[in-house]
Symmetry: C2
Subunit: 467 residues, 2 copies
Amino acid sequence: MKVVKFGGSSLSSGSQIEKIFDIVISDPTRKAVVVSAPGKRHAEDIKVTDLLIDCAEAYLRDVEADRLVDSILERYLGIARDLQLPLSIMDEIESGLLAALNGDKSNPERYLDAVKATGEDNNAKLIAAYFQYRGVEASYVNPKEAGLFVSDEPGNAQVLPESYHNLHKLRQWPGLIIFPGFFGYSKEGEVLTFSRSGSDITGSILANGMKAEVYENFTDVDAVYSVNPSLVRYPKEIRELTYREMRELSYAGFSVFHEEALIPAFRAGIPVNIKNTNNPSAPGTRIVNERSNTNGPVVGIASDGGFCSIYVSKYLMNREIGFGRRLLQIFEDFGLSYEHIPSGIDDISIILRQNQIVDEQMEADIISRITNELQADEVHIEHDLALVMVVGEGMRHNVGTTARAAKALAEAGVNLEMINQGSSEVSMMFGVMENEADTAVRALYEEFFGEKNQTKTGNSHGDWASV
Amino acid sequence: MKVVKFGGSSLSSGSQIEKIFDIVISDPTRKAVVVSAPGKRHAEDIKVTDLLIDCAEAYLRDVEADRLVDSILERYLGIARDLQLPLSIMDEIESGLLAALNGDKSNPERYLDAVKATGEDNNAKLIAAYFQYRGVEASYVNPKEAGLFVSDEPGNAQVLPESYHNLHKLRQWPGLIIFPGFFGYSKEGEVLTFSRSGSDITGSILANGMKAEVYENFTDVDAVYSVNPSLVRYPKEIRELTYREMRELSYAGFSVFHEEALIPAFRAGIPVNIKNTNNPSAPGTRIVNERSNTNGPVVGIASDGGFCSIYVSKYLMNREIGFGRRLLQIFEDFGLSYEHIPSGIDDISIILRQNQIVDEQMEADIISRITNELQADEVHIEHDLALVMVVGEGMRHNVGTTARAAKALAEAGVNLEMINQGSSEVSMMFGVMENEADTAVRALYEEFFGEKNQTKTGNSHGDWASV
């Protein structure tokens, strides 16, 4: 039994929905179908979720938004027409949308969640109607009815453990389940959404609760690539990678799959299969607990910019019990989360995403607190760093991998600001200046995936993954 | 004007003291002479400081210790006889020792400090007498008289800032100053010692207070070597290294100079010159603020064992503000100081000296607290790690150094458990298993100092530095 999830671009038009219909019915083990809101039909299009957010914000400000409401309804109407559905479905969609828009605005965040959730909810109803129209036993299932309960955190809800037990009962549901992604209900019955792109999370929760044999996640690329295709021509596709490898790649810019969404599947040991709605026969990429076919020590190379490093030095710092803890307390007091803490003998650096430091005043305040409270000898900040990750389960204890990576970077003339290796068993991290990150990634790709490593290159479906 | 310090092996016998006499008077700018207690005359000998500790502990237990007292006095008597000094000096030495041994035992730690300090104090009196006997204007100066005040921390006293001002007046002292190392006085007049080998600290404090042009530290090796001479034949001598380089090398096993002792000289920008009492014409090693003559990116390679690594993994750990701080709090609660904190995306390791974890129960308690309080997915400990340091100011932004080091280690078949580079500007750190540390050090030495790098090898005075 499989849980299948389709992203917004796979559901953006009637012809796309015909494709997903064919995909679903081609395999009778596909039991539950989790759907996003209609996405972009072309590059300039606007996602329904974004229209809904604009609409909710207008309502919150008591600004007239009839045209926005119409745009949203027209998206569903267009799909219904394409699919030659009886237009009675539109009454249900319109009343769902208007009920949310005219709902309780006393808590703006909750209101926004309720409006956003209609994007998926109405699409699930529409798609269920289409499946029924095509003569398939299928029904829309509401998350409250199914028992998908979440914490009361608007825009960042977390699944409550009892949900898994509740969802297990869906195994007995007659026929296909069409399930809206992105949201659940609080125990008080309020709609709450997961973080953005949270339909991936719903699918993973369902796969866990229903004990699916696989969670198929359909998007618009054939596979996860070993490197960002905008940097390298014909990058190698990844056939199989572990949860840990996926997690490390996601962190450093691989956006193919929502990182929170891995957790429920990972905890239940259910493989996630990333597949392409537009090329469903391609094998895609499987995310698994342990993988068999290794092809060299490295599976992927990623980078992400926008980091800064706050350097703190103090002679004999390591003799002071509590120094590091007091340093981290200062960051916590400013509400800053940090990524890494490389250290020397008498110095320590805190690597964090620099957009958290909102202005120069805040930066000065942080430096001043560290200088005064810890009596540091020197405190300074370095901006515009990128972290380059080399990821692969095969790297652990592979003595040559570090040397190959460092040599490739040296030959490309890339200065290493930082190396952090040793805690993670599946990655090696290099800190470089942002303006050298692309050079670094290309050099590492060439070293581990270049011509000398393989005869077969990747395919030519060069679009970079986007959900 | 120079401050000169002689270690215990340089003062272990009459013939050694004749050498230091010649050294001191050969340069009229040598103004203050800081002396240790008599050290070992040969490998099986016992240092006077160790005899004093045994003696104090016997007195504290009310055990008879006449033979120990005699052994101590015989050391001074032997020196006085060798130097053909009038033996009246022995009355002063004996009364100083007995006064300390019969002093207030109500605080055992303070009592121990007072007894230990007589080793240096009596030696300074003896040496001052010898200088006078040789017709040189020289006098013993007591640290209380000179104003060397310290914090009330027995066995680990810290200099009080006002001392520097007081000591500056010694510039006007008539003739040579013979100053006992290792101890100062609390404001209440109690004797308190620095940490072990603390005569180096006294010399550094005097150099700072007296604004010396250089602090000469005489020991028993010609220079600081670029690598442990027990691992490599004829290792290269280091002519000049910065305080930062020395600090990193000291940390990882280079014991030539007490690490706390660098601070006062470093703060005042006074060069430290490590020289050999037994070969005073050799240039020795200068420790300076900035160095000129660089000879490749690396100045030294060191390693130190006895570390362990506690690995903690938790999915999406970096989203939890305060995770690292709470983790470090647990270590602080156990009184543990840690050395490094390498981290991956969802994992963090704490590297610490494993002798701090006294038994299996404590280890289990630490793991249990981390597991339960932080709800970690996995916590485990890895024992018997060594940290190998590659040190050199020339490494900063030298793109090839990391690659060379990693390649050398890979070719030697050394597994890298950890790399920590990026906070310190002067070192690169590799974590390896203890049983591979020597192989790693030799491979790195060969890479950076081996035949292909230089035509001239180091000298053949192959004794490893000891203070």
